[in-house]
Symmetry: C2
Subunit: 135 residues, 2 copies
């Protein structure tokens, strides 16, 4: 299981924590997929630059760009079983690339039966675009 992916999922679906009475409660914790104030605003801090670079790096690969594009073309969610053939790579390789996108907060992963389904995080690419281009 992807550790950072799990963090993202917690952010979206809420985190189940046992309370003092032993009952499980759900704490919602909104997560912003893409960090940082606009790149072309005030100079970026070293810390924000590290965080933003991690997100950008997840997209800095032709296979991952194609996977994002394919998932979008599937209406925003696709089974990994529908993604291997179009990119011409083995399922473990495709799953690795998808994990990088999940870890970066750009996709979510949902296991249903034997297959994993990947969905674009709504607004994540738009957030990134806004950080890059807002003057």
């Amino acid at each position: 299981m992807p550790r950072r992916g799990a963090t993202l999922t917690r952010g979206i679906d809420g985190c189940q924590c046992p309370g003092q009475d032993g009952r499980v409660t759900t704490a919602t914790e909104p997560t912003q997929a893409v960090c940082c104030s606009p790149l072309q605003g005030a100079p970026l801090s070293a810390e924000d630059a590290q965080t933003l670079a991690r997100t950008v790096k997840a997209l800095a690969d032709p296979t991952r760009l194609r996977l994002v594009s394919l998932v979008a073309a599937h209406g925003g969610e696709a089974c990994v079983c529908d993604l291997t053939e179009p990119v011409g790579l083995s399922q473990p390789t495709v799953s690795h690339h998808l994990k990088v996108l999940v870890d970066a907060g750009l996709m979510t992963r949902d296991k249903r039966g034997v297959w994993a389904y990947y969905a674009l995080v709504p607004g994540a690419l738009a957030d990134l675009a806004r950080v890059l281009s807002t003057p």
Copy 2:
């Protein structure tokens, strides 16, 4: 001299070619800094994905993100002599990162006297943002 940077400059300033009569003529050849149809439109071709990944990769580094941000904060153009201290790196290292941004078509380089000045290519980041985020 950066080879691909030179190509970009030719695209902006025109390419000087000797004509049949030996006179030098100027052919303007508009260059689009960032390739490709929207990532979230039709599935990206393998070739377009390679081209787009090269541009994204140029930004997938914290120092280069900070340099873009610093040049923007300088009004869109800055001397390399004003960029080394804020990022805390040597001038050769900063010049290397700036060359990557020039090669990717995101910046231009202009030598004036002993210093090189770097400017953001107008619209290049906005083009990239549009490719990433347009549904």
